[in-house]
């Protein structure tokens, strides 16, 4: 129960931070996508059902908070998680930082491309150099977030193992 509550709290915190805090700290006018990185690491490190539930919950919350394209984020996060689950079943090494970076970069590019393509018919024109620059910056920021999440995981590995062991032995109170 405690791990589930911690996970739910972390996801909720990620959504709130994405919607309020990150909008104020946009280096070079671009904000990172914390929720996407959290969904990706959940898909890499957790069970399939947990990852999928996280994707649906985060997607719905962002869609409800967003002013446009209802359902797009839920659908995208679900597809990303399913793709990661499928590749994990094929033998993907989920602990690999470089694989996480590659997945994050690909997902960031696809997510932004989807948004740009959704407005292309109803806008005056798209400056692709601006789009490329913004996407490149977001890839960079998301990679930094992934590095922080991986770093945090490494630093707390022993502690988490001890807690898991105590939980198994029923001595956690």
């Amino acid at each position: 129960m405690i791990p589930i509550l911690i996970q739910a709290g972390a996801l909720l915190a990620a959504v709130i931070i994405q919607l309020s805090w990150f909008s104020h700290i946009r280096p070079l006018g671009v904000m990172p996508n914390l929720v996407l990185t959290v969904v990706i690491v959940t898909a890499l490190w957790s069970r399939a059902t947990t990852a999928l539930a996280s994707a649906v919950v985060c997607g719905i919350l962002l869609d409800l908070a967003s002013g446009s394209d209802f359902g797009m984020r839920t659908a995208f996060f679900t597809v990303v998680v399913l793709a990661i689950i499928a590749t994990r079943q094929l033998g993907l090494h989920a602990e690999s930082f470089s694989i996480a970076l590659a997945i994050t970069a690909t997902a960031t590019i696809l997510a932004n491309l989807m948004i740009v393509l959704s407005v292309i018919g109803s806008t005056a024109g798209v400056d692709w150099s601006v789009v490329a620059l913004r996407v490149a910056l977001e890839v960079l920021y998301n990679s930094i977030l992934i590095a922080i999440l991986f770093g945090g995981r490494e630093l707390t590995r022993d502690r988490r193992a001890r807690i898991a062991d105590e939980l198994r032995r029923g001595s956690w109170l």
Binding site: L19, T49, I60, G71, L82, V116
Partner: protein, 268 residues
């Protein structure tokens, strides 16, 4: 084997739930959930947003000498307000002239303005929306104009009891009819948002003269957006030899990603 099937069932179940939620949301059945989230999450988001803005401002002020950044921001805000007043005065003057010709023209100046705190932003880098901490309980209605720093920021799109979503003027799909306040013929055109945050004024007739530095204001067509709200200043004008229209790049003084308080203009 059994465990694998159970996991598959769970995955399929979760996907079905996700699809149902998306379908419900698309037809508006999740509006009560959205309202409830606004009521529950609004104050929390407002607090986080406020704290983030304060932290960002504090860091900015600390980086400058003797709080120059804050003072500069206040002065900018004052200049923007004065510009807005000047713009409205010009508009009133033009209206007076028009009224002398046609005595039955009504006033377009806003009477009611509701201040609203910005509590959330769009979670991506290409669409441009904000969430404000005022809703239908405060008289906010869909389509109302929203201003800040003396200029048009956007229009209200979705309203719940305590929150509202504002469609920003810099969104790539935003449209508003505008006119050049400084040109002699007061030519009109359509303002479009651009990916990256800029503004373009299109559909300006080739016969019209429009110059860099001219002030662009709302034309007031329709009932929702009052006439004379500043949108920005013309930066460059592009005349196409074979084109029917000319296009102008317009820059707004509003810092869209630093909005903390905006003002909703009630219908007249």
């Amino acid at each position: 084997m059994k465990r694998g099937r159970s996991a598959q069932r769970k995955i399929l179940g979760l996907m079905a739930i996700g699809l149902l939620l998306v379908a419900f949301g698309a037809v508006g059945l999740l509006q009560p959930v959205r309202s409830a989230l606004g009521v529950v999450g609004g104050p929390l988001a407002g607090w986080v947003s406020g704290a983030s803005a304060s932290a960002t401002n504090w860091l900015g002020a600390a980086a400058s000498i003797g709080g120059l950044a804050k003072e500069n921001q206040q002065l900018r805000s004052e200049v923007a307000d004065l510009r807005q007043r000047l713009s409205q005065e010009t508009e009133v003057k033009a209206q007076n002239e028009e009224l002398r010709k046609q005595l039955n023209v009504g006033s377009v100046r806003p009477e009611n303005i509701v201040a609203a705190e910005v509590i959330g932003y769009q979670p991506d880098n290409f669409r441009q929306f904000i969430t404000i901490g005022r809703g239908s309980n405060d008289g906010i209605q869909q389509g109302m104009a929203v201003i800040s720093q003396g200029a048009l920021v956007g229009t209200v799109q979705d309203v719940t009891a305590t929150t509202a979503k504002v469609f920003l003027v810099i969104d790539p799909t935003f449209r508003v009819t505008a006119l050049d306040q400084d040109a002699s013929n007061r030519p009109t055109g359509t303002i479009y948002g651009q990916i990256g945050g800029g503004l373009v004024m299109d559909k300006i007739a080739q016969t019209e003269t429009i110059r860099p530095g001219d002030t662009i204001v709302t034309a007031g067509t329709g009932n929702d957006i009052p006439k004379g709200l500043i949108i920005g200043k013309v930066q460059t004008v592009e005349r196409r030899d074979n084109g029917v229209f000319q296009v102008a790049q317009v820059t707004s003084d509003v810092a869209f990603n630093r909005l903390e308080v905006v003002y909703v203009v009630a219908r007249q």
